[in-house]
Symmetry: C2
Subunit: 452 residues, 2 copies
């Protein structure tokens, strides 16, 4: 067998971005992709909108099918194949063909691991795998949830965890006329926001019609016939026709035990800027890897489609012998919660405190358009900057239509060590339908610069 | 009389931003503002939306009235006062009280000139000042146009010039059910865009219902009873119940002749980064000054509310003895043309050619949201970058709802000498309702980087 073969484990964003990149550079290279599900290159981020019914079919979330990769790109995608073990010493992997239920060893010349993340699931709680309990990660998981709703017509759902996925799912279920209760262990929804900004989100979600219980912990499930009937917390028992875990995700790396491939933060794979692991001829990219935070200069774990795509391309370039690096990320994230757009980038207060960085922070209210222009909406901006230097360290934005994409200027500023004064001086765009004459991020910077 | 008195000529954005800043720092300083109209601190950019009827009254465009400045801020605003002459040798100005029709000399200790711009008007063409011919600049000019429309019910309007103001006015008049013909000297609408992008705007404006004649020049007016009845171009005669000049604006600096205050580009006042003129104790800010272009490193003339506000604050700080500088601008501008949002920043092809800068450019089509997400709109992005270095030199964006504010990332990148690779690496926000996973500006950068 050809030892120069590229084997990729995982056929979603990072894996297929890499495969496509390698194919463009090396038209003749043999590329095999093992994908445990039946799907490739789908938008996991779109799942809540498929469940809400906003997107009619799950097929719309698929950018390119396995068949398309095979015929148009000559990439040998093998779906329903689960990789069980990586033997780096002998440069081979052990693969389970889920259809035939047989195992085989596949040799590789180069290996790329893009196995993504999986939703955190409290396996110490009996019933975590009951038939009406769901995580949200793969397209299959989304299809399972939609099927369950259509076939079982649930009246009420309990969502465990109030992060992005929990909130997007809450909105989706409410649209399907399912009552939603969110149980959140901490004192605020969206822990990636500071408490003052998280409070705004909590109110918005409550106004949307969801019940939100904060500072409350999942303790047990009440089960009948392999289905959860009640969610038991440290404070109450809640009836549930379905349960969704939105407790964050963790990298899919358990199968690497014994491979010698080094893991870092939260067992995500350690990689350098070329997405190489510590083992020769083995790369990794996407949600199964750790990421350098360009503000804290420390590694962190984020599962973001943007990072998966970027690191996939860089891994592909590196595998194909091209120069390319992925510098890192700044934790930019944006989410729609009913009429609110919620965005963040950089570090938040608790991170800065932990790092011992002296900072100042402030919040302002402004509008998405000139105040007098029709349909001008509210926008709240929070900025965090280094004491003395004024270097921007982070920003959070919550607002109605037109608010969220403003986070990109803050992401750019945070990445390139710009200060509040740089932000104030910036020639940002203005016309009455799009912004006040001082963009809200500048209004916030003007207030905060007085405190440094 | 107190020689430490601050006299400000012009009471709109720059002048009143400065006055307010000085007042905050120096609560006891005597500040006199001479304003030729009856209004202060209004949004000239909002005039087209007042004329269209989207904004009900002109009062809504006024941020703060003269009375408010007098009573709440102790700023002595004198409206209907036109300054005729500046005598820098004796530190005094000659003022016409338009109500009393008397003149007087006003001494100053510090002088700030914020007289703004005025619409270019071809005074060599008889009828330029007929009763149905209008420029768009001051609030008064907007009120005059609205009054004229209400009282005369015009059926068709000819707009001379297809820049921002011409197009915003075209839309406003069409909303008022007035037929619109635009005469444009050059081959495209919006000369601040490259021809390929300008073409998109031309089509959009034609689809909106306006007639657009390109490569056509105003030659004369046919006049009856002090009203234009026809606009005569080098190619045809067009019936017109009203005429609007949208031929750009120029600084209001003619009254400075003989003052010794140095003028630069297009007779705009030369200023340093503290907004000081060449004459001691004389500052200038806003649309009457020239601006350093941070990309070309040359001075240019732009009349933008954003720059007026920024330079006003810097002038105020400098006058009050605080350290502050205005570094310059990058020519960011954004405009709404019916359902299109049109934005630009940095340099365009013709400017780069003139400067002898070797560049590459490309255009891509993308969407404002994930392709599968409902109401995803078209967006076209053009980027220009320096050959070899890949430094971003300019960007232009045209798209539907949600497109325009993306220009701010490009403005930031252009200002801080970022490259296409920086743009590709940037951790920009993504969620299906707000963007594709690669933001359109990144998609364009990925295509263009292959050409450097």
């Amino acid at each position: 067998m050809d030892n120069n073969i590229l084997v990729i484990i995982g056929g979603d964003a990072a894996g297929m971005s890499a495969a496509s990149k390698v194919r463009r550079v090396q038209p003749d290279k043999q590329i095999i992709v093992f994908e445990k599900s039946g799907y490739t290159s789908y938008s996991a981020c779109g799942i809540p909108y498929f469940i809400s019914g906003l997107i009619a079919t799950s097929d719309e979330l698929i950018a390119r099918s396995p068949e398309e990769f095979r015929t148009k790109y000559n990439i040998d995608v093998r779906t329903q194949h689960l990789v069980l073990q990586v033997d780096t010493e002998n440069k081979r992997i052990r693969v389970l063909d889920k259809i035939k239920d047989t195992e085989f060893w596949q040799p590789y010349g180069q290996l790329l691991i893009t196995t993504g993340g999986k939703p955190y699931c409290p396996k110490d709680i009996a019933g975590y795998n009951a038939q009406n309990v769901f995580g949200v990660s793969t397209l299959k998981s989304g299809i399972n949830i939609e099927n369950f709703i259509r076939n079982n017509n649930p009246k009420n759902a309990v969502i465990i965890g109030g992060g992005y996925i929990g909130l997007e799912m809450a909105e989706a279920l409410l649209i399907r006329n399912i009552g939603v209760t969110i149980i959140n262990r901490s004192a605020q929804l969206m822990n990636t926001l500071d408490p003052d900004m998280g409070q705004i989100v909590t109110e918005a979600v409550r106004n949307l019609g969801a019940k939100v219980y904060l500072n409350e912990t999942l303790k047990a499930f009440e089960i009948q016939e392999n289905a959860v009937t009640h969610v038991i917390t440290d404070k109450q028992s809640l009836p549930a026709d379905m349960v969704i875990f939105g407790m964050g995700s963790s990298p899919n790396t358990a199968f690497l035990a014994g491979s010698g491939i080094a893991l870092g933060v939260r067992n995500a794979i350690k990689v350098n800027a070329q997405m190489q692991t510590n083992v020769p001829d083995v790369w990794a990219a996407g949600d199964c890897t750790e990421t350098l935070n360009l503000v804290s200069k420390k590694h962190f774990y984020i599962a973001m489609g943007t990072v998966a795509n970027k690191t996939g391309v860089v891994a592909g370039s590196s595998i194909a012998g091209e120069a390319a690096t992925f510098p890192g990320a700044v934790g930019t994230a944006v989410c729609k919660v009913c009429s609110y757009e919620v965005a963040r980038s950089g570090l938040q207060e608790k991170e800065l405190s932990k790092l011992g960085i002296e900072y100042v922070a402030t919040i302002i209210d402004s509008t998405t358009r000139a105040g007098y222009y029709p349909d001008s909406k509210k926008i709240v901006v929070k900025l965090l900057a280094e004491k003395n230097s004024g270097r921007l360290l982070g920003g959070q934005i919550i607002g109605e239509e037109g608010a969220a994409k403003r986070i990109d200027v803050l992401a750019t500023a945070v990445t390139h060590n710009l200060t509040l004064q740089h932000l104030i001086d910036m020639d940002l765009s203005y016309a009455p339908p799009f912004s006040p004459v001082w963009d809200p991020v500048q209004t916030c910077a003007r207030k905060l610069v007085k405190l440094i």
